[in-house]
């Protein structure tokens, strides 16, 4: 790997997916700017293509917007939590530097983005077979639900697979499955907290049929994700 330090090597991506111990450890130990650029490029490409698939049912412009917004949410979540995650790792028993923790999380998002990208042809095929938005009442609604479920399954799978690899990496670095699990849950918790809110701010991704296509909603920064969930739950239970 040493000779690859200064090259943008796409062959690193399959080794990440396989979770090969030596290349992953090397990537953590010697994280060069080029490697970071590679991860960023892969995140933008993979999550961008998937985002285009998510948005294209509503319209080409929505596809473009979502292809930009989805990678942005991943990257902003990584950057926004970088300091916190870097502090959590030593506190929970793994003495790695801020840069190493950031690289580890970036690697896991890269894995997720590759998986999302690889499932994009399936998503596009599904959309090609779905009735156009609003074409037929029940059929369109059924297709909408199906697409949402499939998208969620793909995102869920990508998340599980990438975190599994991240967990394995942390386990190797710490030498303790318990420490690795603690750090993984800590990182997941804070990433979920920020990621959910950023997703709320950056809505819409799919694009509601009755609303105009826009990059951000006019009330993008009004309210927060958890408040909406809380209000919805309260409405469901007490009305």
């Amino acid at each position: 790997m040493g000779n690859d330090l200064n090259t943008l090597n796409l062959r690193e991506i399959p080794t990440l997916l396989r979770g090969e111990p030596e290349p992953s450890n090397q990537a953590i130990q010697h994280c060069t700017p080029r490697r970071v650029w590679l991860y960023l490029a892969v995140i933008f490409a993979g999550a961008g293509i998937f985002g285009a698939g998510v948005g294209c049912w509503r319209g080409p412009l929505q596809a473009l917007y979502t292809s930009v917004k989805l990678p942005l949410v991943l990257l902003l979540t990584t950057l926004g939590n970088a300091v916190l995650n870097g502090m959590l790792a030593p506190l929970l028993g793994l003495n790695i530097s801020f840069r190493q923790s950031l690289t580890a999380i970036l690697m896991s998002f890269t894995i997720a983005a590759v998986i999302l990208g690889s499932f994009s042809p399936l998503l596009f095929f599904l959309l090609w077979n779905a009735p156009a938005l609003g074409e037929k009442g029940d059929l369109s609604e059924g297709a909408h639900n199906l697409i949402l479920v499939v998208q969620s399954l793909i995102i869920g799978f990508a998340g599980v697979a990438s975190n599994l690899r991240l967990g394995q990496l942390l386990c190797r670095l710490s030498g303790s499955p318990i420490v690795a699990r603690k750090i993984l849950f800590g990182w997941l918790a804070v990433n979920l907290l920020l990621g959910a809110q950023l997703s709320w701010n950056f809505r819409p991704f799919v694009g509601a049929p009755g609303l105009p296509i826009e990059f951000l909603r006019k009330n993008a920064f009004e309210g927060n994700f958890f408040e909406i969930i809380f209000n919805a739950a309260r409405h469901l239970l007490f009305h």
Partner: protein, 250 residues
Amino acid sequence: MSDSDYLPPPIPPQIQNQPPTLPALPLEETLEDREPVSGVLPAVEAILRQPRRILRQLRQEGHGSLIACLILIAVACSLVYGLVVGSFSRGDQLYQFWTAPVKIALGLVLSALICLPSLYIFSCLSGSPARLVEVFGVLAGVLALTTVLLIGFAPVAWVFSESTKSLPAISALHLFFWLVATYFGLRFLHTGFAHLGAKSNGGVKVWVVIFLLVALQMTTALRPIVGTAPTFLPAEKKFFVNHWFECLHD
């Protein structure tokens, strides 16, 4: 602690709960397995009788010609089987002999291409060091084996095509033949993955479900494959389950 202070453990600890390693068959078991496959007919023979030869050659230099052969076999056999499928509507005014063969070949190739990226990802996640081209080669082998078996079913399918007027019945029969042929094709895939060094086969099982769903949906996206229509592609979009229920209802 600075970057330079941190030293990883000299021997990485073993990760608990690693999936069990699949028993990979040795590639160079017999001399016959080492014999290179060249040409279409030897490739057909090898994929039926000595799949190990195909799998071995896919990992050698010059696998491009073998992959091309496998794809050629798959396309040619699909076209031939498609003629039999289309023969059901021979008496119809809208019958065009080329539509069913083209749709079957096109559907098969498109389904494979749509599912190829996810197959490669699953192969990586299962720990296989296989390159994309090797995974593509195995997939081409799956298609070739499936379609060669369909050719075996073609005479039976033709007899039924000539004997029935029921569209759902003949469609169900073709679907059954395709499922049987695909079962053997996917068995080749499992063997191929074991040869490619996959440590678990959970991912392949998930992929098989995805591939079957895509292929079934493709039959609806390109409908009608059995029967006739004024246009090559349907105007209305449907999911295959809806389409099947409607066909049965009609």
